[in-house]
């Protein structure tokens, strides 16, 4: 029977032609489609999960009985460290945000892509390159071996002299670039790309979870990166950040690491909470109980998570007065978690639950999360924590949290969205079997660890002697690990076979409540033929609105078929703001990631000049990337809407709209502020420990010249402001001149500062004392920051003579904002620098 080519069908075909990417390997290498990038993340993280699992199995085999010699001690240390690093940095976080977040978030908010599609691709390629970088350590027999939290002084050069720890420090900084870029992208997407009508109170709960996680990443990664940079400087260049004999402090590492490390726990489990809140209403056939409270709980957990870091350090000798601050926050953070728990359970009890495979995993998650959460609350009791620190109790606790509360929902999510991604159904009975086998294996593996910890078995030991009463429980754990592996293999087998032989799923096999279920399975490259309008957080269940969408498609309203178009909306109320022309596929992300891979490899090998050359190559790739500009954004009109239909208020609103580029820059500034905040805090932390600051023999810092130079730098705020104002009024030449003036002053400032820096280096060294280490690190970071600002201004100068496009206007706004931030940081840095002389 011939298909009637309705206007709606014709529009779908046109959109398919517009959004279709090349097929084959080239298509995958150059893709900017969030769904394909999500799939790339998925398969990459699954491979890392398999590697991390293999490491775990080898360790459990070593520990199956006393005095076993399956693994040598150093091999065990390497496997143990790589297992932790892999599962946290290369599996759970990239799986939950990179795979699930990327694939689902734009679909759930009714967008056609992420806010920055090419940056999204870059995040993936950097993630892949960092994973290969870290795992290449195993090929050269020098994998990280000081545990996943890599405590100093053990991790210092004199105790572990090979490349092991350098792979860790540089690999995680490399990985952090990917994660930071992804977080900025998620936040901007949530802020700017929600479908019209999806105000904050109508956003799906999964999106709240991604919002919370992205904010947490933005502020948690800078302390980790700072700690890693300090360690690498200690190891490679002989700095003294963590050397107590030279004014450093090993506890500085612990503070910085756990300021990252505990939020990281919530970064790991919050997307899983989001998955649970997506699955439960669907299978309970009712809306989530206490929707606003669940949303707030997701944010509150991430926020309070920043104030509990020292509960990982209760045994290091902090004063009780310090630790109570963390104990209080640790106790209270359980409340928002409990709010979610009660909401999930109440939704299930008051609904009509269908116990299909995805829901089983979520119920398993709830049970395991309660157990992991309760054992976590016990650790808020300082005396108890001190007793069980560094025992298997802790290992048991965090595996209930990470495996039970994060991996179980991920597995449930894989089943839940499998039909959407592949268009096929999985085998239900094998799905249920895989759940039960995994659940039993998980509990057999990790529950006995609590008992072993309480009877004193320390963690990280590669073996144990006979006669301590640990043998039987260790045997049970190892058998449990093998059962757990069987369960996971069943999941994999089910999904692989179903991909090829499963029944067709249809668009919405489970009656899902969010917008992705209103698209075909798998979703087309353009996601939505017509941009949906939203009146409810459960937009998928709003049948009237979805019926209306179909009518709009036939009429050609809100189709956006003139190019790679998607709507931009306002942050809070998602009013239509502008129509954005999105970039299409590009080679630049993969090339840029490759260049950065060479940079980090050269840093590892301590070939700093070659690393510098490849930084230049990366910069060049970035410049080429931004040379080809997307078409201008324009007013929100559909095919049947005419320009005259746009009111003056609409035009004015668009002029005042904060574009994605502005939001991206603001979020970059936020994470940089956290970085400089960490550096300056580290400075004062080290200063507070020293009997004299600067130490005897070091000159007091100059005051007048640094302050005067900073004053000169601050004057650049005026020409930069005037440049932005002229650009807004389309006065390109004046804008160019003001930027050029600012650039001259900025270059003069930087040149003079470099002269002072070199003079200081000839007077005292960063290798003699922690004072010198932090002094030069702080100034070098600031100078690099100024240089970035100068390069951005230079880029604008080179582009403006050929006219002022919307893209360049956004560039002017972004650079203006960034430069004012550089100036603010300059003030803080100079005040810190001269403080000892005041």
């Amino acid at each position: 029977m011939a298909t009637v080519a309705t206007p709606g069908l014709q529009r779908r075909e046109r959109l398919e032609r517009i959004w279709k990417e090349p097929s084959g390997l080239v298509g995958w290498l150059t893709t900017t489609d969030h769904k394909r990038i999500g799939i790339l993340y998925f398969f990459t993280t699954v491979i890392f999960f398999a590697l991390g699992g293999l490491e775990a199995i080898l360790m459990r085999t070593q520990l199956i009985g006393p005095d076993a010699d399956v693994l040598a001690p150093d091999t065990y240390n390497q496997l143990m460290t790589m297992h932790g690093v892999t599962m946290i940095f290369l599996f759970v976080v990239p799986m939950s945000t990179g795979a699930f977040g990327n694939y689902l978030l734009p679909l759930m908010i009714g967008a056609r892509d992420m806010a920055f599609p090419r940056m999204n691709a870059l995040s993936y390629w950097i993630f892949l390159a960092s994973g290969i970088f870290i795992y290449s350590s195993m090929l050269v027999g020098a994998a990280p071996n000081a545990g996943w939290f890599d405590y100093v002084p053990l991790a210092e050069e004199q105790y572990i002299p090979g490349l092991n720890i350098d792979f860790y420090t540089l690999g995680l900084i490399f990985n952090g670039i990917s994660t930071t870029a992804a977080a900025i992208n998620f936040l901007t997407t949530i802020f700017k790309m929600r479908a019209p009508g999806m105000s904050v109170n109508r956003m799906p709960l999964f999106c709240f979870a991604i919002l919370a996680v992205s904010f947490a990443l933005l502020f948690a990664l800078p302390p980790l990166n700072t700690a890693l940079a300090f360690l690498e400087l200690d190891r490679a260049l002989g700095f003294q950040f963590y050397e107590e004999a030279f004014g450093g402090d090993p506890l500085l590492w612990q503070h910085l690491f756990w300021i990252f490390g505990h939020p990281e726990v919530y970064i790991i489990i919050l997307p899983a909470f989001g998955i649970a809140t997506a699955i439960i209403p669907t299978f309970a056939r009712r809306k989530m109980v206490a929707f606003p409270l669940v949303a707030l709980a997701e944010i509150a957990v991430a926020f309070i998570g920043f104030g509990v870091w020292a509960h990982h350090m209760f045994a290091v000798g902090l004063s009780t007065a310090t630790t109570v601050y963390f104990a209080a926050a640790t106790l209270i953070v359980a409340i928002p978690s409990a709010i979610q728990l009660f909401a999930w359970v109440t939704t299930l009890i008051t609904g009509r639950p269908e116990f299909k495979t995805p829901l089983l995993w979520i119920i398993g998650f709830i049970v395991l999360f309660i157990m992991g959460g309760l054992s976590g609350v016990t650790l808020a009791a300082i005396p108890f924590d001190q007793q069980v620190t560094d025992t298997y109790y802790i290992v048991g606790h965090f595996h209930y949290v990470i495996f039970g509360a994060a991996v179980f929902p991920l597995l449930g999510g894989m089943y839940f969205w499998f039909p959407k991604v592949t268009g096929r159904m999985f085998y239900e009975r094998i799905g249920q079997l895989s759940f039960w086998v995994t659940f039993i294996g998980m509990n057999l593996t990790f529950f006995p660890m609590h008992i072993l910890g309480l009877v004193g078995m320390p963690r990280r030991d590669y073996t144990y002697p006979e006669g301590l009463g640990w043998t039987t429980l260790n045997l049970i754990e190892s058998i449990g690990a093998y059962i757990l592996t069987v369960g996971l293999l069943l999941v994999a087998a089910n999904l692989i076979v179903s991909r090829f032989r499963g029944k067709p799923a249809g668009d919405d096999p489970f009656g899902g409540d969010t917008l992705e279920w209103t698209t075909p399975s798998p979703p087309p490259s353009y996601n939505f033929a017509v941009i949906p309008t939203v009146r409810d957080p459960y937009a998928g269940w709003d049948k009237e609105a979805r019926e209306h969408d179909l009518q709009r498609l036939e009429r050609g309203e809100g189709v956006l078929e003139r190019g790679h178009e998607t709507p931009g909306t306002t942050v809070l109320d998602a009013n239509s703001d502008e129509i954005l022309e999105m970039p299409s596929e590009s080679w630049m992300p993969v090339l840029l990631a490759a260049a950065l891979g060479v940079v980090f490899t050269m840093l590892l090998l301590r070939h700093y000049v070659t690393a510098g050359v490849f930084v230049g190559v990366a910069g060049l790739a970035l410049a080429v990337w931004h040379w080809k500009e997307p078409a201008d954004a324009h007013e929100p009109t559909g095919s049947t809407e005419t320009a005259s239909a746009v009111s003056a208020a609409d035009v004015e609103r668009r002029r005042r709209a904060l574009p994605s580029g502005w939001w991206g820059t603001t979020l970059l500034i936020a994470t940089e502020a956290a970085f400089f905040g960490t550096l300056i805090s580290s400075y004062f932390y080290l200063a507070s420990l020293a009997p004299a600051w600067p130490p005897p023999g070091f000159p007091k810092p100059q005051v007048a010249l640094p302050l005067a130079l900073t004053g000169v730098l601050l004057t650049t705020s005026v020409p930069i402001f005037l440049a932005a104002r002229n650009a807004r009024h389309a006065n390109t030449r004046a804008a160019w001149l003001w930027i050029a003036l600012a650039l001259v002053i900025q270059c003069g400032y930087l040149a003079w500062q470099i002269v002072l820096f070199v003079e200081d280096l000839s007077t005292f060294s960063p290798r003699e004392h922690a004072y010198g280490s932090i002094y030069f690190a702080l100034l070098a970071a600031h100078h690099a920051h100024v240089l970035v600002g100068i390069l951005l201004s230079g880029w604008l100068l080179s582009r403006l003579p050929s006219g002022l496009t919307n893209y360049r206007l956004i560039g002017v706004r972004a650079v203006t904002l960034y430069w004012q931030f550089v100036n603010a940081v300059a003030v803080l840095v100079v005040l810190t620098q001269v403080w000892p002389s005041l």
């Binding site: 902090l318 009780t320 009013n575 020293a690």
Partner: protein, 123 residues
């Protein structure tokens, strides 16, 4: 004289963010002071920890209480519809009402207890 009422959006945002930011400040001051109180550098400067901790706790608690009141006022002023912007403001006000007691509890629990302990004793 009639006191002018603050704009609704200000009430909403203060109600939402007031208590979390108050706790952040109190936490940083408290932790910073208790860490520094036992170091040589701080002893050299002779800065006492307790007054700072008490001031931070009192100020934090006061801001949190005011934020809670703002959130309640915003909630009452925006009841009755789900439509943005009023519905969105009501949503954020409800969130503010719920988070404020949590942060107030942390401020009081940590601030009061920390002052009671000798500064440089380890448990």
């Amino acid at each position: 004289m009639k006191i002018p009422r603050p704009p609704l959006s200000l009430l909403v945002w203060f109600g939402l963010l007031g208590a979390p930011l108050a706790w952040t400040s109190q936490h940083l001051v408290g932790v910073g002071m208790t860490l520094a109180a036992c170091t040589e550098g701080m002893a050299r400067k002779g800065v006492p920890a307790d007054p700072w901790m008490i001031a931070a706790t009192a100020a934090g608690a006061l801001v949190a209480v005011l934020a809670g009141a703002s959130a309640i006022a915003a909630f009452r002023a925006t009841r009755g519809t789900d439509e943005p912007p009023q519905g969105r403001m009501n949503f954020l006000a409800r969130v503010g009402i719920t988070v404020t007691p949590l942060f107030l509890m942390i401020i009081l629990m940590s601030g009061i207890t920390a002052v009671l302990f000798p500064k440089c004793n380890q448990s």
